[in-house]
Symmetry: C2
Subunit: 468 residues, 2 copies
């Protein structure tokens, strides 16, 4: 092992190969503090060529590799296992914006760029890079692509996969594949790009990417909508999509209990409605014409929905500060539920047409089996993606309620499967859901995935124990 570490030091410089327990600690700990792995070292290469050299050394010494970006993942995808044999390969020093091409609406960035910096660089070039999610201040674009991250703008712009035109990848053999193409159309062979996106580092290491940019909107409008049920929210979604088409850039659902938690733990959040309603939607429109066109469009669609009885009440932001006050309600839900106590989280997606029935059925089953259970349900309704989180009754200590975690996961995930949904909408499988997925994916699909993994990484050195 020492020889291997010396070889790594020679390849990229001693100061970029960390070996002390203190230096390693932040790279080994999972984002939510649930897990601490063990590694032989952390290597921080500064160029794609250095990544390739390290991977070649890992092949030579048969050392497993755990690629890591911002280490903000939620499914134990970027931390090593307990064996202590793995090298954590941090991409954080590959953080250059290589090129921006405003006319082609693309930018070429290295994997270690922080998402927020990518957004900012696009903005400085008068363009929009629309990927946006809670961890954007610390996650990296390489991690976003490796996990096909979603976030709040998927409804309009798609997942990370749809935002990427080309990749540079270091293969498990330490070769560099230069697929940094900035083309909207290219039908010259297998779609390697999309195979690497979402593979969670198990087929190679994404070192750079060509990202799609978009024109910046000239006006953004938000509204908070009160509704009687999830079914009403879905009717409102259909109406808004029909009327606003691609101007609809956000459609976030929140249950009454989500807002109650925010009120309880962030009482300074400006009040919304005089009474409470069962469900709420935070609506965002992005307009490319004018402020006044955005206002008219938003007012027309809300007026129509109120008239039809689809919507019970609405608050429209008339300034940027009012708009961010509305977004606070949505953004504070995860924080408020963390303060409230532990809960059992599910990142699920469903066909949009089946969401209302799924929520109704699953809520009822959980309430029957675990009386007093509290459901913190919110998410990106426009994508069919719910964060369906289950908190225990107030009179039972968290640690006691968490004893039901496995049984509750089973109930929720079995229902998701029965309603043709996915048990990981945007977080990936990592090490956390790797066993769970075997229950839901067919042997044929697992076999196809296994054949690809075996073909590209025959020694199983790329992020072993994740996905497969």
């Amino acid at each position: 092992m020492n020889t291997f570490i010396e070889a790594c030091q020679e390849a990229i410089g001693t100061e970029h190969v960390l070996t002390s327990a203190e230096d390693l600690a932040p790279y080994l700990r999972d984002q939510r503090g649930r897990y601490i792995g063990v590694a032989c070292a952390v290597a921080r290469p500064g160029t794609t060529e250095e990544v390739a050299q390290l991977v070649k050394l890992c092949q030579q010494y048969r050392v497993p590799i755990v690629p890591q970006g911002g280490n903000t993942g939620l499914v134990l995808g970027s931390v090593p296992d307990q064996s202590g044999t793995a090298l954590v390969l941090s991409l954080r020093r590959l953080n250059r914006i290589r090129h921006i091409d405003p006319l082609n609406q693309t930018m070429t960035v290295e994997a270690g760029c922080i998402l927020q910096n990518v957004q900012q660089a696009a903005h400085d070039a008068k363009r929009l890079f629309p990927l946006s999610l809670g961890a954007e201040g610390s996650c990296t674009i390489g991690g976003n692509l490796s996990s096909n991250a979603g976030g709040t703008a998927v409804l309009r712009y798609g997942n990370s996969r749809e935002l990427c035109l080309g990749l540079e990848v270091v293969t498990p053999q330490g070769d560099i594949w230069d697929g940094l193409r900035g083309l909207r159309k290219d039908n010259t062979g297998y779609d390697l790009r999309d195979l690497y996106i979402g593979a969670e580092g198990t087929l190679g290491i994404i070192t750079a990417a060509v990202l799609k940019l978009f024109p910046q909107p000239v006006a953004i409008r938000t509204a908070f909508i009160a509704l009687e049920s999830v079914d009403h929210a879905l009717q409102f979604l259909t109406l808004t999509q029909q009327r606003c088409s691609a101007a609809l850039t956000g459609f976030e659902l929140m249950s009454s209990f989500c807002l109650e938690l925010v009120r309880r733990h962030f009482p300074e959040t400006p009040p919304l409605f005089a009474q409470t309603y069962p469900q709420y939607v935070l609506l965002e429109l992005s307009d490319h014409e004018s402020e006044s066109h955005a206002n008219t469009l938003l007012e027309t669609v809300i007026a129509h929905a109120l008239q039809e009885g689809i919507v019970a009440d609405a608050v429209v932001a008339s300034s940027l500060s009012q708009s961010s006050a509305l977004w606070q309600w949505r953004e504070r839900i995860p924080l408020a539920q963390a303060i409230e106590g532990k809960n059992i989280k599910h990142d699920i997606s469903l066909p949009i047409s089946r969401i209302a029935d799924f929520v109704c059925d699953t809520d009822a089953q959980l309430k029957q089996r675990y009386p007093g259970v509290r459901l913190v349900t919110f998410g990106h309704l426009g994508d069919g993606n719910l964060h369906y989180n289950v908190a225990g009754p107030t009179d039972i200590p968290d640690h006691r309620f968490l004893e039901n975690q496995q049984a509750i996961n089973r109930l929720v995930h079995d229902n998701v499967h029965a309603y043709d949904g996915s048990i990981s909408a945007e977080h990936g499988l990592g090490a956390l859901k790797r066993e769970e997925i075997l229950r839901y994916k067919s042997p044929v699909e697992m076999q196809l995935m296994g054949q690809i993994k075996q073909a590209l990484d025959p020694h199983n050195l790329m992020n072993p124990g994740k996905v497969l």
Copy 2:
């Protein structure tokens, strides 16, 4: 071989296994009449299970399989080679629309559905399926997906890949992979869907798909724009995208010579401008608000472009019939150039920022080396996709000029490569460009593709001689 054919007949019924030369003929001939292959038989299964049975038999007898839809491809991807050993497996009898889910905005269709029927079924459900291309009356959705077809609406809605959420595939082993998921977000493993899309039947057979639907626009407006140069067209594209965003659904470039050909061979096409201009753009906007909003948007953007000197002149259609008259100019270009004579076709894409320079350079090189050469350049400028076709001088017979085909392909494709483009934007590789691509793709990329092919289809029975 007789035993094999008998086994096929037993599996799917004698009447669905064609063996006579007369019956086979239409399945063996390439769309453009350039090539006629040989097959041992044509099988026309009626269900996915029958496809799976046939593939199992092919594995057992080691018979190569050529999957075929409408057989409208342009790169010899759906016809067998000369060996006579292959079975053509026609998907045309798998032509059921299995399910439409308007609320989820999806439809589940079998591979053999004609594209136009898919569009119509979506329309009947008050939804839009936006894939649209010349062959839509006879191509099948399975072929569209296998070749990741593009067409005229890619600018707004993406290629076939972006229009598909889930697949059903028969693997090379004859297993059925049911990946018919109708989810916008699903991060549970490798992206097998996108690997099969665009693989041209070399990794398995797509038998059904879940397609994305969209709200129907309430108004569609078209305009014909005259411009001084390709560079002006690109400036106009940027302006229109900034102003109209996703309402921009078509942006087709045509050179002056393209219109001259249409005028010559279809003199009844209604005239456009009093004088000629070097370049033209056919612009299409789709509006979800109202007819009047569509008019205002279109008029505003054109007025602004005229004022800025980006656009030289414009004709706006004020009725559906005027709109289709404008589209005739675009649609008749391929027909007019066929009447005019043979030409050497290139389906290329480029970064949008490099198109003007590419066209300028390549035109000049061709004109210098082949004096009198005539360039028929048109295409989907908004996607960076040009049909860059080269016709010979009027005073040289076609067959003489076509002797330069290889040299001209080389010149054009080398330039495309030098400008970071693709030599097959939307048609695929098939058997036609399989050798050519080796010149432009890196050995690393070819090796990755080869490893995947070898892993999934170790006996190389799936559409051999195509892509790889």
